[in-house]
């Protein structure tokens, strides 16, 4: 796979990352979705909010990791489950005004404001995250066969949210190693129905997404 303008993209990402880390450390609300399946029946959904201290830690790792990443073209995203936090999804067009200047000036307040304004002006990312999470927790379950066989792992699903809120082109980006888990995750995503709400949140844009689904067995 190739990236059309990796260098340009890298610079852009680096800059806006800095900006967003700063912004997020101030505004972010972090949400982990944990779906616990007890035996066969009850599904508990746990939505936990954490404070933003993790974001600061992650910012520190930014300069070390950056150079190496340039050369790794096929490394799959491996989000750390424990520290995974909010990801307000912010879509921006290249031709839109970007908060790079603000970042260069290292002005935290400006950066934050810009981010918020940007996200508001395009799509309501918090709302998308929230809708997806609620919907996903409704449909995701641990397949019994996988539970029985002690199978666990992480599958990365990629899909596109169309401007009408429809979720299409669901594909396995990276397999968990077990087809039962991969298929269960795809099926769950297929069942999502809140198109109207998603359409409102997405505000006429088209959004490509990657969703990591982690299947994990716990000792009681």
């Amino acid at each position: 796979m190739t990236c059309a303008a990796p260098h340009k993209a890298a610079v852009f990402i680096a800059l806006s990352l800095v900006l967003h880390f700063i912004g997020l450390s101030i505004v972010s609300v972090k949400t982990d979705v944990v779906i616990t399946e007890q035996g066969s029946a009850n599904i508990e959904i746990e939505l936990s909010k954490k404070n933003s201290s993790l974001t600061t830690e992650k910012s520190k790792s930014l300069p070390q990791k950056k150079p190496a990443s340039h050369h790794i073209a096929t490394v799959s995203p491996r989000p750390l489950i424990k520290t995974t936090a909010i990801k307000p999804i912010i879509e921006k067009q290249l031709d839109e005004p970007r908060p790079i200047a603000a970042a260069n000036n290292d002005r935290k307040i400006t950066a934050t404001t810009t981010t918020q304004e940007n996200s508001r002006s395009s799509i309501d990312t918090t709302k998308i995250t929230s809708i997806l999470n609620t919907e996903l927790s409704r449909y995701f379950h641990y397949p019994r066969a996988a539970q029985r066989r002690n199978w666990q792992g992480q599958v990365l699903l990629e899909f596109i949210i169309l401007s009408d809120g429809d979720i299409s082109q669901i594909k396995v980006n990276k397999s968990s190693g077990y087809s039962i888990l991969d298929n269960a995750a795809m099926e769950a995503l297929n069942k999502i129905e809140q198109r109207t709400q998603l359409a409102l949140a997405i505000n006429g844009h088209k959004l490509a997404q990657v969703l990591p689904v982690t299947y994990r067995l716990i000792n009681h």
């Binding site: 399946e37 990443s69 073209a73 039962i180 969703l211 990591p212 299947y215 994990r216 009681h220």
Partner: protein
């Protein structure tokens, strides 16, 4: 170029790689789907089960299987005193050879004697113990009359772990154990080595007045490779060598000792066909090699070699309905210093099981047919039912038949003028019925069971001519026994103390004489209390057992006793902890077998290093 970017606060590396992989994708927060890890044995049975984990073993600081299990639900244990001495387990009041012991799925024990030397099992090697109470011949075949004790050796997990423990205590008892486990690209592994030695005590008043010591060295190794959708392959090894001094009660000048080697090798392959069929193929081998010495001269040797091949297929008709079918071939070979008429026998078994769950009920039907060279055909079965009348409580009822094949000694013991075997023996056969109630809430786990077992054709050694005091002895299927009992287990947390209470009430009788079966206590209770105070953990075990008759005629009563054991551990840092225990705090003198001394007060201190 139309460049669209979505950002997240995930690790920077993942952002970059995801950009390079596909510039247009954003990463959402992971959805984490969890479920409870299932354990095969526990979840597949409706019978009462006790599970003891590695951390339970470590927290208890128990030095032996007997110390760990004594007084627990259904467990009555007698011993000739101290580590490594002959130990008998009467599970639900049945005979010692009515409990099947499995190590990683293969039988452990001697085919000549028909019992398992549980006193020689090194606890350091054990990851988990699962005790199923009640008959299980319908799944495992011979011996599972009182129940099944499954021992699982250590397995590696994803996290790399290293452990090192050294301890020392009363009677010059020392132990050392070290191991490592983890996972690599090719699979997960575990290795553990352990050694224990003790000077012991003078075991029997009539024997040689020296101390009867014991030592044991053991290793286990295991390897498991996950094969994705296809299945998984596993290999495990267990080896233990024990030296045991004992007293000859007929000759106080004799010095007796025995050397026992036990080992198991187990290779298994699980392969999955679609979502519904799980196949399990296992090839196992077990050895039990016993050499006896008197005054340093060889005094008999008894070796057992078992080879087992098993296929079991579990077909999941629905999520809540499983049908299992299996075929097992077991070959038992013996090699002894004496001349047995037969030294090998095969057992072929076909078994099937149906497990079904309805809305509030569950049903298990099992049937097994064994064809043994020595005793012919035996069919056993189980029917177990459970009603979950609330989300936190259920009641159970079950009925089962089980059997015990006669041992090589029973059948073929060579005629030495005093004793000889009886090749015409039949299998001992049992029928058991029970009802139970279970509560499982956030704070309380309780189970209560009432059972009744009748065992027919019990084998007993008797004089061929009862009127002749010099008559030789031979075994015969002469006795029947009826055992009724109830067991209670309650686990809860009170005022920050973890509490586990077990109570066994039992009435084991010989049907003909109506006498109580030898060496069974009618009442037995155990209470464990444990609490953590930050880095300090402390606990106490109280164990009380009623009197036992040492003889079948019920004339020689051994009085009951109560014991108090204390234990504490202190975490010096994340990986280093110091532990100490005092067993038999009040130095109570007691016997579970007439004239065999038990340990008085003992102290044991250990230092343990665990790093992940």
């Amino acid at each position: 170029m139309q460049f669209r970017l979505i950002q997240t606060t995930l690790l920077v590396s993942s952002i970059f790689s995801s950009c390079l992989a596909n510039a247009e994708q954003g990463l959402l927060n992971p959805v984490i789907v969890t479920a409870t890890r299932t354990t095969q044995t526990v979840d597949n049975t409706l019978a009462p089960v006790t599970v003891i984990s590695r951390s339970d073993i470590e927290n208890s600081q128990a030095s032996s299987v007997a110390e760990l299990l004594t007084g627990m639900a259904g467990m009555d244990i007698t011993s000739q005193g101290g580590l490594g001495t002959n130990t008998s387990l009467f599970l639900r009041g049945t005979n010692t050879n009515h409990t099947l012991f499995l190590v990683d799925g293969i039988r452990l024990g001697s085919a000549t004697l028909g019992t398992t030397a549980i006193e020689l099992i090194p606890l350091e090697q054990i990851d988990r113990i699962e005790i199923v109470r009640g008959p299980r011949s319908s799944l495992y075949g011979s011996e599972a009359i009182g129940g099944v004790v499954q021992l699982f050796t250590r397995q590696g997990s994803e996290a790399t772990q290293t452990n090192l423990t050294a301890g020392y205590g009363t009677h010059n008892t020392a132990s050392l154990s070290a191991g490592t486990s983890g996972a690599t690209d090719i699979g997960s592994y575990s290795m553990q080595a352990a050694a224990t030695k003790t000077d012991g005590i003078h075991v029997h008043d009539d024997g040689h007045p020296d101390k009867d010591g014991y030592q044991n060295q053991s290793v286990t190794a295991s390897f498991k490779k996950l094969l994705g959708n296809f299945g998984e392959a596993a290999l495990s090894l267990f080896h233990s060598e024990a030296d045991n001094d004992y007293d000859n009660i007929y000759d106080a000048t004799a010095i007796n000792e025995s050397h026992t080697r036990q080992n198991t090798i187990n290779a298994s392959l699980k392969f999955f066909a679609g979502d519904k069929l799980d196949n399990n193929i296992r090839l196992s081998q077990q050895r039990d090699e016993f050499d006896d010495f008197e005054n340093a001269a060889a005094n008999g040797s008894f070796n057992t070699l078992r080879k087992q091949a098993l296929w079991q297929g579990d077909y999941h008709l629905r999520d809540d309905q499983t049908i299992s079918l299996g075929y097992e071939v077991l070959t038992e070979e013996i090699e002894t210093s004496g001349n047995y008429a037969e030294t090998e026998r095969d057992n072929h078994a076909l078994f099937g099981q149906l497990q079904s769950e309805f809305s509030q009920q569950a049903l298990v039907l099992a049937v097994r047919h064994d064809n043994n060279d020595a005793i012919g055909h035996t069919t056993t079965g189980n029917i177990d039912w459970r009603w979950n009348f609330s989300s936190e409580a259920n009641i159970t009822a079950s009925y089962g038949r089980a059997f015990k094949a006669p041992t090589f000694n029973d059948l073929y013991w060579p005629d030495n003028g005093y004793t000889f075997g009886n090749p015409n023996l039949l299998a001992e056969e049992s029928r058991s019925a029970e009802i139970g109630a279970n509560i499982k809430s956030d704070n309380v786990r309780a189970s209560f069971n009432i059972y009744k077992t009748r065992i027919e054709n019990l084998i007993d050694w008797q004089a061929v001519d009862p009127g002749d005091p010099f008559s030789p002895w031979t075994p015969d299927n002469v006795n029947n026994a009826v055992i009724s009992g109830m067991e209670t287990r309650i686990e809860t947390r009170l005022f920050n103390w973890d509490l586990a209470f077990n109570l066994n009430l039992i009435d084991p009788r010989d049907e003909q004489t109506n006498n109580r079966l030898q060496r069974r206590a009618l009442k037995e209770a155990r209470l464990d209390l444990d609490r953590e105070f930050g880095k300090l953990a402390t606990g106490v075990s109280l164990h009380a057992a009623g009197g036992r008759y040492d003889d079948a005629a019920n004339t020689d009563l051994l009085p009951g006793y109560g014991l108090v054991n204390l234990r504490s551990s202190y975490a010096l840092n994340k990986s280093l902890s110091v532990k100490g225990k005092i067993d038999n705090l009040f130095d109570k003198e007691y016997e579970t077998i007439r004239d065999y001394n038990n340990l008085g007060r003992t102290i044991f201190v250990s230092l343990s290093y665990n790093i992940e």
